[in-house]
Symmetry: C2
C-alpha cells in the first residue's frame, strides 16, 4: 500500500493512519520514500480505522483506503452510524477494466459486496455506479442490465428484474444514463452479435457499465477479464460519504494505482 | 450448416433430413458440394426433426445436429418419450473453449439450459460433463465448482452447494474426476492466485471443467471468453441417448466445426 501511495503521490496527498513506528519501519524495509506523507499515530488497528474514517467524514480527506488491516475492521468503521461516513445509500462495488479487446473502459457492478440483490437493491447499485461514472466525466453512460436472455422470461427472474428496471428508467426513476436490459453480455459489447440476434438497443455493442444480476456472475466476469482477457483493473466501494478503496495484496501495483485514481475521481 | 457439414466431412458422414428440393437448392445457391451426403426427404419441419431423432435413437446416427429450424422444435422431438432418444438423465449444455491465455482446453457447464439448478440437478450436470470429457480422452478431469467465494458461507447458497457436492465426491458419489469447490474462477485457473490466497486444492490453477452455479454466471463466462478473451468455442447438449449439436447462425464456421467434433466424440 505504501508503494502504491508513493507512485500515486502526483494524484493525491496521503495521510497514513496507524502505528507510526511500524509505518516508518515498513517504509524503510521496503525502500519506499514516505517523507512527503503525513502520519497520524494510532497503534491500535480498530482506533486507526475509526480515525481514518473520521478524517473522511469531516471532509479532511477525499477517500478512504485500506492498508494491511482486515477488510471487516475497515468496513465496520465505515458503517458505524456515529462515525459520519455512512449515508442512506446501499454500499456497492464498482470495478473498472481496460480490456485490450474492447474499444473503451468497461465498468462492472456488483462483483464483490451484494450477494443476491433484490430489485430495490439493484436500483441503488445502478444509481451508485451511474453517479460515480458521471463524476469520472462520462455524462450519459450506457448501462446494460445483464441476464442470460435478451427477453424477459418469467422462468428467469434476473431477466424479469432487468425489464422492470428498464421500465423504471423509462419512467424517469433512474437518471444520468442510457439504460437497457435484459441483455446478454455479447449484445452489450458486440454490435455484430446484437445485429445477428436482431436486437435494437441504444446500448448494443457499446456498453460503459455492465450490471450483473448476482454476485456469482459479477465475480466470474471480473476474474475472467483479469485472468483470461488480460484486462487491467481497479475497484472501489461506493455508497458511503466518500469512496472506499479496498485493494488486496493479490492486486498488481498497476491495479492498486487504478483503484486509487477511481477512488479519488468517482 | 451445410457448409459446416462440408468442412466436417472428413470427421463424419452427414445425413440431411428435410425438404430435399430446398436442401439441394440451398446447397447450389451457397455453392456447397453435398454430393456425398445422404438426403432423407421430409418437407415438414416437425416430421423432419422426428425422423432425424429416430435415426439417432435406432443407432443409425451417432449425433443429432440442428439445421435451420427452431431449437424448440428440435428439443421437443428429442424429449418425446416415445421417440427413444430421451434417457433418465437431465439435459445439460457443455461448452468447450480454447482460450489463448490458458494452458489447455477449458470446459464450461451449464451456460445454456438449466437456469437455476438445485443440488440434485447440479450433480447430474457434473456427471453429464465428466462422462463426455472422459469420452474425449481426458480420464480424470479436474472439475472446479465455481462460486464467488472460496469458503462455504451460509449467506451464499452457491458456496454451500459446492461444498456439499465436494463432500459427495469424497464419499464416492461422483466418479471419474477430481472435484473441488467452492472456488472462485481465479483460484481454478491461476496457480499464482490460489497461492496468494493460500488455497490448497488439487485443482488450483489447473481446472479442466468449470461448473457454474447458475445460468447467468455461465452465460457471462461463455460470452466473455468468446467476445473478450478471443476464445474459440464449441458446444453440445448432453443427457440424451446421443449428443445434440445446436449451432446457431451467429456461430463462426470454426465454432460450428468444433461443436461437430465435440458432438461426435463426447
Amino acid at each position: 500500500m505504501l508503494e502504491a501511495a508513493y507512485y500515486a503521490k502526483e494524484m493525491a496527498a496521503f495521510i497514513l493512519v496507524g502505528d507510526a513506528e511500524k509505518i516508518r519501519r515498513t517504509a524503510e524495509e521496503s525502500q519506499v520514500d514516505i517523507s512527503g506523507m503525513e502520519i497520524v499515530n494510532e497503534p491500535d488497528n480498530i482506533k486507526a480505522c475509526q480515525a481514518a474514517v473520521s478524517l473522511v467524514a469531516t471532509g479532511a480527506s477525499e477517500a478512504l483506503m485500506k492498508g494491511l488491516v482486515d477488510t471487516s475492521i475497515v468496513m465496520k468503521a465505515v458503517l458505524d452510524k456515529e462515525a459520519g461516513m455512512r449515508t442512506d445509500k446501499i454500499l456497492s462495488h464498482l470495478a473498472l477494466f481496460a480490456v485490450p479487446t474492447y474499444h473503451k473502459l468497461l465498468f462492472v457492478t456488483d462483483a464483490a459486496i451484494n450477494i443476491a440483490p433484490d430489485l430495490a437493491a439493484k436500483k441503488s447499485i445502478i444509481q451508485n455506479a451511474v453517479e460515480a461514472v458521471n463524476n469520472l466525466g462520462i455524462s450519459n453512460p450506457k448501462v446494460a442490465l445483464l441476464s442470460a436472455k435478451e427477453k424477459a422470461d418469467p422462468k428467469m427472474s434476473s431477466s424479469m428484474e432487468a425489464a422492470e428496471l428498464t421500465a423504471q428508467h423509462k419512467n424517469g426513476e433512474i437518471l444520468g444514463c442510457i439504460l437497457d436490459g435484459p441483455l446478454a453480455l455479447d449484445n452489450a459489447i458486440s454490435k455484430e452479435s446484437a445485429k445477428i440476434k436482431g436486437i435494437d438497443s441504444p446500448i448494443a455493442g457499446d456498453a460503459d457499465v455492465l450490471v450483473c444480476p448476482n454476485i456469482e456472475s459479477g465475480n466470474v466476469l471480473y476474474k475472467s477479464l483479469v485472468f483470461l482477457a488480460d484486462a487491467k483493473n481497479g475497484g472501489v466501494v461506493l455508497g458511503a460519504k466518500k469512496p472506499v478503496i479496498l485493494t488486496s495484496r493479490a492486486d498488481s501495483a498497476e491495479s492498486k494505482l487504478i483503484s486509487i485514481a477511481l477512488g479519488i475521481l468517482s
